[in-house]
């Protein structure tokens, strides 16, 4: 099953820039997973075609279907086509007025796909104005409320006080995105195969924004304890993913911000292999270690 990540957020927040940044940074490291990008927007599509080619990927455009009936379903049609082309990852860039969580709920129930997270881009510079807008205020608040994880752009255009104020006002886990660069491991559901655990970083991480932890084991985890552990993932852990073998079976884990899902997996390697990505430089910088301890508990108390 192909993981599917939905990237939403209002017009001008920087969704396309983030996707182009992702494609470019992966290509630089010769890590070229096959990525398909589905774009639902009004007008010119600005996904960099050269970059997409490097990933042997493809960009597909969707237009919103007929407004009165469901006879036309571009998104479903696109997912059907892509299913046959064995991509490693599908990214959906929703239109600015879409409810990304709704798109995600729709798309991940499409046969052949699994959940890769709903990320919503927040435009730090304009968020206050947008939130109060007569026409799009409720929409933007709902986009944020239903996101798994927020990506905040344009913070460099605010002063320290404004940044702090914005950060405090966000209702959920958020990651700072500067100049369109967002760590690929945050965006993608597949695990990077090049985690340098000694540095606590993935190969994709060029900043000091994150600490990364890899966990591998051949032992079988306890399912109930695993669920408790996932419910209680410490705040700075913004992403966790990989595969798990526990007392009830084998699973794909996707944890994005506030939401985790386990999906039954048939063709996964043996054992458990997980990656945790947490915000560094937070007061609870030791959370990664605490996380590991929690996981060890889930394992040992079987």
């Amino acid at each position: 099953m192909t993981p599917l990540t939905v990237l939403g957020g209002y017009l001008g927040a920087g969704k396309t820039t983030i996707i182009n940044g992702l494609l470019a940074s992966l290509a630089q490291q010769n890590d070229n997973p096959r990525i398909a990008v589905l774009v639902n927007d009004f007008g010119a599509i600005n996904i960099d075609a050269k970059l997409i080619r490097k990933h042997r990927g493809r960009t597909m455009e969707m237009t919103s279907g007929c407004v009165c009936c469901n006879i036309q379903d571009d998104l479903g049609g696109a997912l059907d086509i892509l299913r046959g082309e064995s991509f490693e990852q599908v990214l959906i860039e929703t239109s600015g007025v879409a409810y990304p969580a709704k798109v995600a709920d729709y798309a991940v129930t499409w046969p052949g796909y699994r959940r890769g997270g709903t990320l919503v881009v927040v435009d730090a510079l304009n968020i206050d104005r947008h939130k109060d807008d007569k026409f799009v205020g409720p929409l933007i608040k709902e986009q944020i409320a239903e996101a798994d994880l927020l990506l905040v752009t344009k913070l460099d255009q605010l002063d320290c006080n404004q940044v702090q104020k914005l950060w405090d006002s966000l209702p959920k886990r958020a990651v700072r995105v500067d100049h369109g660069y967002c760590n690929a491991d945050i965006l993608l559901a597949s695990t990077s195969n090049s985690i340098d655990t000694s540095k606590g970083k993935t190969a994709n991480d060029h900043s000091d924004q994150f600490r990364t932890l890899a966990y591998q084991s051949d032992r079988v985890l306890d399912h109930c304890r695993l669920e408790v552990f996932l419910d209680e993932l410490p705040e700075p852990v913004v992403r966790a993913k990989g595969w798990i073998h526990d007392s009830e079976g084998r699973w794909w884990l996707q944890s994005v911000g506030d939401r985790w899902t386990l999906e039954l997996a048939s063709a996964v390697p043996a054992g458990t292999s997980l990656v945790f990505i947490a915000l560094a430089n937070t007061p609870s910088d030791r959370t990664i270690d605490a996380t590991l301890a929690g996981l060890e508990q889930a394992l040992h108390r079987l």
């Binding site: 209002y10 007008g43 010119a44 009165c68 007025v97 129930t109 499409w110 052949g112 026409f135 799009v136």
Partner: protein
């Protein structure tokens, strides 16, 4: 070439919709035009001067201007009409009136009858109109009992879910392995909804959108349009599915001598923009279209844009206090994008038709229109609010002051008034949907449309709802917003013509206009208002040629 002979049609009465001569006794026609309306005596100078014949066929009937539906979707209709209607509400169709099936047994019995009467054992059967409120639960086993091998496809009335039997699953190659454990597919019951629906629809599309099906559907649409008494309709979103295909098929099927109506085509700019890339390119394309006009099919300087979501899906954008359950509507077009598009067409002198369903959608349309009026004032600009589900009295005043028109689907009140009062937005606002009385009190040009297939393509039915404001439960909702029978007739004739920019040629009966008539057995202005929808339509006359209408079989 000698001028054709004049034909004089005496009638019980002629309702002209021309305020200077509201009633007449006869109308004289030459070729496709009216030469004089009045009495046999008053038109004597014409009759003395020209060879003429008196055609008595409508002598006992009432002649009205040909009905106009200013917002209908031939393409959507073409998809729906080849299906079998098994519905909880009555549908009058040319090939027979669909009598209501209001119980689970009635529904299944009707499907069984249809199945039994379909000769070819492999031919798939498409049924539209299932609704759990009346028809109870539906399932694959139930359909299999009727026939497990022939594909049977049952669509929900809303089009938002469907059921398949074994034959249909096999026909569409939907296997348990692919679809068995997806959340929005209930495979054992053959039930497909939300993304599950999309999954099934993508497999059905090659069949329901196949050219021969589409052509068959358009043929049926021709009958429906004639049967409703129309002589003009507007396709209020050409390109909704695919511009080139639609245009090609319309030319093949509609532009024929046996078609008793014309179609005004209004391109769907939202859809086109995705294909063309920019508003400027769509504008250039739209300007190039009239060069392709045929006799019956006409593009002009009208364009369609969309604000908020579908009314039937409760996706209309609402002002405070919104929906009872707290959900929000949707924008089809982001407000900034809509503004750019509107400015492009406004500055090019186009008449903009904006799809709005909720009062927040109306508010957005008004704010943008006010802005454009400030930037570049226009008179007689033809900006039209389409559908017009929810609105406020204050918005009606602004619409009037900004010089805009309203084209309303008043059938919303009939089918949804009760449901939306209970499970939507509450009684006060639900009862005031399609606020037409206020529009007319404020002097707004106001038309009625069907948005077929959202409402029956029967102008008299729309007029009946507008005059009585009665819902499907038989209850009057907001009598204060009722309009008079005369106003309702204007809304399906001359005001509808104004909304689509053709009032110089059609919409009333006066010398010089096209000889388009709708012939009624009874006088709608003298009839009991509750009877208006049941007045038999005897015939239409399109550009001087009579086209009789056979009463539907029951």
């Amino acid at each position: 070439m000698p001028k054709p002979v004049l034909t004089v049609y005496p009638a019980r009465s002629v309702i002209t919709m021309n305020p200077s001569l509201p009633r007449a006794e006869a109308v004289a026609v030459r070729g496709d035009r009216i030469v004089e309306v009045g009495t046999l005596t008053s038109m004597k100078p014409w009759l003395d001067a020209h060879e003429h014949k008196v055609d008595e066929r409508f002598a006992d009937d009432v002649i009205l201007p040909g009905f106009i539906d200013p917002h209908l979707h031939p393409t959507m209709a073409a998809i729906l009409l080849p299906m079998h209607f098994v519905t909880a509400m009555e549908w009058k169709l040319p090939w027979g009136t669909v009598s209501p099936s209001t119980t689970p047994e009635a529904f299944l019995n009707r499907v069984t009858e249809i199945e039994a009467s379909t000769q070819d054992p492999e031919e798939p059967i498409f049924v539209w109109g299932y609704h759990q409120l009346w028809h109870g639960t539906m399932s694959r086993p139930l359909l299999n009992k009727i026939n497990a091998t022939r594909p049977i496809i049952v669509w929900h009335r809303s089009f938002h879910e469907l059921y398949l039997n074994d034959g249909a699953l096999q026909w569409l190659q939907i296997t348990e392995a692919q679809a068995g454990n997806r959340k929005q597919i209930d495979y054992p019951n053959g039930h497909f909804f939300e993304s599950g629906l999309g999954y099934a629809v993508n497999r059905l599309n090659p069949h329901i959108l196949a050219p021969e099906k589409y052509a068959e559907g358009l043929e049926r649409l021709k009958q429906v349009v004639h049967f409703g008494g129309h002589t003009t309709i507007a396709d209020m979103a050409t390109g909704l599915f695919n511009f080139d295909t639609e245009w090609l098929m319309l030319k093949q099927v509609i532009e024929r001598d046996d078609t008793p109506f014309r179609v005004e085509l209004v391109p769907d700019a939202t859809r086109l923009r995705a294909a063309k890339g920019s508003n400027e390119e769509v504008l250039a394309f739209a300007k190039s279209l009239p060069a392709q006009n045929t006799h019956r099919l006409r593009f002009s300087d009208h364009i369609k844009l969309f604000a908020d979501g579908a009314f039937f899906s409760q996706l209309a954008q609402l002002q405070e206090p919104g929906y009872i359950d707290g959900h929000h509507g949707e924008w089809i077009t982001p407000p900034e994008i809509l503004e750019d598009a509107m400015r492009t067409y406004w500055n090019a002198g186009f008449k903009i038709h904006l799809h709005v369903t909720g009062d927040l959608g109306v508010e957005l349309g008004l704010d943008l229109l006010e802005k454009l009026q400030w930037e570049r004032p226009r008179f007689n600009h033809g900006f039209t609010f389409e559908h017009f589900g929810f609105s406020t009295p204050e918005q009606i005043e602004r619409i009037a002051k900004l010089g805009a028109n309203v084209s309303a689907n008043v059938y919303y009140l009939y089918e949804l008034g009760d449901a939306y009062a209970r499970r939507g937005i509450g009684y006060e606002r639900a009862s005031q949907m399609a606020r037409l009385g206020a529009c007319l009190a404020n002097g707004i040009t106001t038309a009625l449309h069907s948005d077929f297939t959202m409402a029956p393509a029967e102008p008299l039915n729309s007029a009946w709802v507008a005059v009585n404001r009665i819902n499907s439960q038989g209850i009057v909702m907001c009598a204060e917003e009722r309009i008079t029978a005369a106003q309702a007739l204007a809304a399906i004739t001359i005001d509808a013509a104004r909304v689509i920019g053709r009032s110089d040629e059609i919409g009333s009966i006066r010398a010089g206009k096209k000889a388009d008539f709708t012939i009624l057995r009874e006088d709608p202005l003298l009839a009991d208002p509750m009877h208006i929808k049941d007045i038999p339509i005897v015939a239409t006359v399109f550009e001087g040629r009579p086209f009789p209408i056979e009463p539907a079989r029951s």
